[in-house]
């Protein structure tokens, strides 16, 4: 057992850092540290650079075009990129549907879809939730009826992140209504350009547009877009959710968040000094700092076990729960650090390239919107309540 890095890992870290310096646009990087929202190009230009280097699908095995990194390399890669201010890799292709395709797909499907995911030429989005199927995902109603070589799909997906940027959507659809809910679900890939696919924005409380409703109205989908067997989509769905829960805690960005909190505390004026002199406040930063360390070490223990050949178990749900609480707490502290100047709402400073100077300090405009927005982390990817149900049932046997 050893926490220290080997010399080759040091060289690897330097390589990743140099790559980020060369390929991450300064404007994108600036958005990360000022808390602005990224636009499509911030993500896609960066992801294409990663793709070209062979690093976008960094968790994939070599066999499918991944770099074949070990757990330590992945860990270092994620941390260095977060430190450098890179946008998080949009998970829908490389982290979600990609592994489903190489695990459950046919050779033809692998050849057809994996290259576009690895290169970021094709953007994906996730068609899971529906108005009546949130926590109770298996209750989904979107219907796919087989007609010859096609499925005819009708229904509505919701909370679809970046559907407005998506070329393809992977959907859970109901192909059999006669059986138990989980047994009549299939995993279907749908080209967003197919007639009958409509995207409607959902505006969140911070004014941002990330999520959408996706309406599917008599959408004709070729049968060869079915992944796995018909009515066995729930297996793909669960496999994907377990993968999602592992990365969703986003420890590297929380570590960056803690160091940004300390910077804000050093910059915020207080009684002639700064907020860094306020021990009540700095103790709260220390508290969240330690929580991040506990989470990181727990995650490493899971990854280390997986490296020995294990699959992520239900205990991954605890990482998701704690990770979301930590992200929320960091956002809350950042807002509290700003104080009264968190009140002005400055959408121009959040969404647009602007020469406007912010009202108050530079770190003020995103503080409150981020706090509001981060409430989503305990809801998406399986709510905290659902994760705890999973742990109590699967891990504790209650």
């Amino acid at each position: 057992m050893d926490l220290s890095l080997k010399p080759e890992h040091k060289a690897f870290t330097d390589e990743v850092r140099a790559f980020a310096h060369e390929n991450l646009s300064p404007a994108t990087r600036e958005k990360t540290f000022s808390g602005k929202h990224y636009d499509r190009d911030d993500h896609i230009v960066w992801q294409k650079a990663l793709g070209k280097k062979g690093w976008l699908a960094y968790t994939w095995p070599k066999k499918y075009g991944g770099p074949g990194w070990d757990v330590t390399q992945r860990f270092l890669f994620e941390n260095v990129l977060a430190e450098e201010g890179a946008p998080r890799i949009l998970p829908f292709g490389p982290k979600m549907v990609g592994p489903v395709i190489y695990t459950f797909g046919t050779e033809a499907q692998k050849e057809r879809f994996l290259p576009g995911i690895r290169s970021s030429e094709v953007s994906w989005c996730q068609g899971y939730s529906e108005p009546g199927a949130g926590s109770d995902l298996a209750n989904l109603r979107t219907r796919a009826v087989r007609e010859g070589d096609h499925y005819i799909v009708n229904g509505q997906k919701t909370w679809t992140s970046f559907a407005h940027w998506g070329d393809w959507i992977f959907c859970l659809v109901r192909t059999n209504t006669e059986v138990k809910a989980q047994e009549g679900i299939s995993f279907l890939l749908i080209d967003m350009k197919t007639p009958g696919v409509t995207v409607r924005p959902i505006i969140m409380t911070d004014g941002a547009h990330h999520v959408n409703d996706v309406f599917l109205d008599n959408v004709k989908v070729p049968v060869e877009n079915l992944i796995g067997k018909e009515n066995e989509g729930w297996t793909c769905a669960k496999f994907l959710l377990a993968n999602e829960r592992l990365g969703i805690a986003d420890v590297p960005s929380s570590k960056r968040g803690v160091s940004m909190l300390r910077q804000i505390a050093r910059a915020e004026p207080l009684d002639g000094g700064t907020l860094a002199d306020d021990r009540a406040f700095t103790a709260q930063i220390a508290d969240i700092d330690l929580q991040v360390q506990a989470l990181e070490m727990s995650e490493l223990r899971v990854l280390s076990a997986m490296a020995q050949g294990g699959a992520p178990g239900a205990e991954v749900s605890t990482l998701k729960v704690r990770g979301s609480e930590i992200q929320q707490r960091i956002a809350e502290l950042a807002m509290e650090a700003v104080g009264e100047y968190a009140q002005p709402y400055q959408p121009g400073m959040l969404f647009h390239d602007t020469n406007e100077t912010p009202v108050g300090p530079d770190h003020a405009p995103p503080a409150a919107p981020r706090y509001f927005n981060m409430r989503k982390t305990s809801i998406y990817g399986g709510s905290t309540e659902i994760q705890k149900n999973i742990v109590s049932k699967m891990v504790l046997g209650l």
Binding site: S129, G132, G134, S135, D136, N139, T158, W159, I202, I203, M204, T205, G207, V211, E268, P269, L270, D271, G272, L275, A280, F281, M335, E336, G339, E340, Y341, A342, Q343, P344, Y345, Q346, V359, G360, P361, A368, P369, Y371, F372, N373, R375, K376, S378, I379, Y380, S383, T384, E385, K388
Partner: protein, 380 residues
């Protein structure tokens, strides 16, 4: 001891409740947010007509002889409706300071028309470095002939764009952060040298940054005693805090009611999600939090007129701590129990959540007031 409302107070509560219910439906409010002012003159005229603008002032000041309980009653309903009219800056803060420190001439010129609905105010105290310290003021007022000249910056001034007069806290003597040496000035909002940068706040109110560039005012612009404004300001802010706590209790009632309704009707796994014990207990905690918030607000409203400034300050800070804690719990829980819907712009809960969050940040957050309360309690 009697904690029940009088018949008049019940009537006031009913009429405020009706106003919020009828004039502040979700869609109406959205329309009001989109207007140029961000509030409606016809509503303000109605406040004047109903006597709300003068209810908390003494009869000799032209008011109707009510007090903090009347303010509490109305603010609570304003919280339920997320009412946007600038009652807090104009009546509670502006009117409150004029009533407490103003000369007879100032009361006649400012307070009387305010009660009639013809004048509005803004209170400019905060500066970039002030954080929650009411004495950390550097905007300078220097003697100029018989009058004064004001130069400096003020931030997050609510209602500055609609106000007729801005009440400005300025340093006339003393060093940075010294409570002694502060003076209040009533400045015409259109005064030469006064410029504004307007913006909406997170919770859809309107505020401004103000820059004072050698703004000249006469000697009669001084509100209260030169160099001695701090006690006036501290008291006015304590009163504003208690009024805001009442608003927050209204917000909590509304957000809890919306959440309760949602978990009774939203079905997952074949049942209303309110059937799940984990949500039942959370909902009970929301209810308890709102009860505690109401209790502390009532206590503070009853103590805010106390002659002893320490009693008053402890009551205000104590209530603000509770409101911060309860508001956060109810707001975050409402969002969680609504799921994704809770953070969309189209649901009322997200708007209550934003207002509750901003109330915590105004005039000192939970942590600040816990420290203030603790210091006062330890000194006793």
């Amino acid at each position: 001891m009697d904690l029940s409302l009088s018949d008049e107070q019940k009537q006031l509560q009913e009429s405020a409740e009706r106003f919020a219910r009828e004039k502040y439906t979700f869609d109406n409010r959205r329309k009001i947010v989109a207007t140029e002012r961000g509030w409606l003159p016809e509503n303000w005229a109605q406040f004047a007509e109903l006597g709300w603008l003068g209810m908390a002032f003494s009869e000799e000041d032209g008011g109707y002889g009510g007090g903090p309980i009347e303010t509490m009653i109305v603010m609570e309903q304003f919280g339920k409706g997320l009412v946007l009219e600038p009652f807090m800056p104009t009546v509670v803060l502006g009117g409150g300071m004029i009533a407490r420190a103003g000369s007879a001439a100032q009361k006649a010129a400012l307070l009387a028309p305010m009660i009639e609905g013809k004048k509005q105010f803004a209170f400019a105290w905060l500066e970039r470095q002030s954080r929650y310290n009411l004495a950390d003021i550097s905007l300078k007022a220097t003697k100029e002939g018989t009058g004064w000249s004001l130069s400096g910056h003020k931030g997050v001034v609510y209602n500055a764009a609609s106000a007729d007069d801005v009440i400005v806290l300025a340093r006339t003597a003393g060093s940075a952060r010294e409570p002694k040496g502060l003076t209040l000035f009533v400045v015409d909002a259109k005064a030469k040298g006064l410029s504004r940068r307007d913006y909406p706040t997170q919770d859809a109110l309107r505020a401004s940054e103000l820059t004072f560039d050698k703004v000249s005012v006469g000697a009669d612009a001084v509100l209260g005693q030169v160099d001695d404004a701090f006690p006036v300001v501290e008291e006015a802010v304590d009163r504003a805090i208690v009024a805001m706590c009442a608003e927050a209790t209204g917000c909590m009632d509304a957000i809890n009611a919306a959440t309760l309704e949602y978990i009774k009707t939203r079905k997952q796994f074949g049942v209303a999600i309110g059937k799940f014990q984990v949500l039942q207990h959370r909902m009970v905690d929301c209810f308890t939090n709102a009860q505690e918030a109401r209790s502390m607000t009532l206590m503070a409203s009853l103590k805010i007129d106390d002659k002893d400034p320490t009693v008053r300050a402890k009551a205000a800070s104590g209530a603000k701590v509770q409101i911060g804690k309860s508001g956060k719990f109810c707001g975050q829980s409402a969002v969680q129990m609504h799921g994704g819907m809770g953070i969309t712009d189209e649901m009322s809960v997200s708007h209550y959540f934003k207002r509750l969050t901003m109330i915590d940040l105004m005039f000192g957050n939970q942590q600040h007031h816990l420290t203030r309360y603790s210091n006062l309690a330890m000194a006793a």
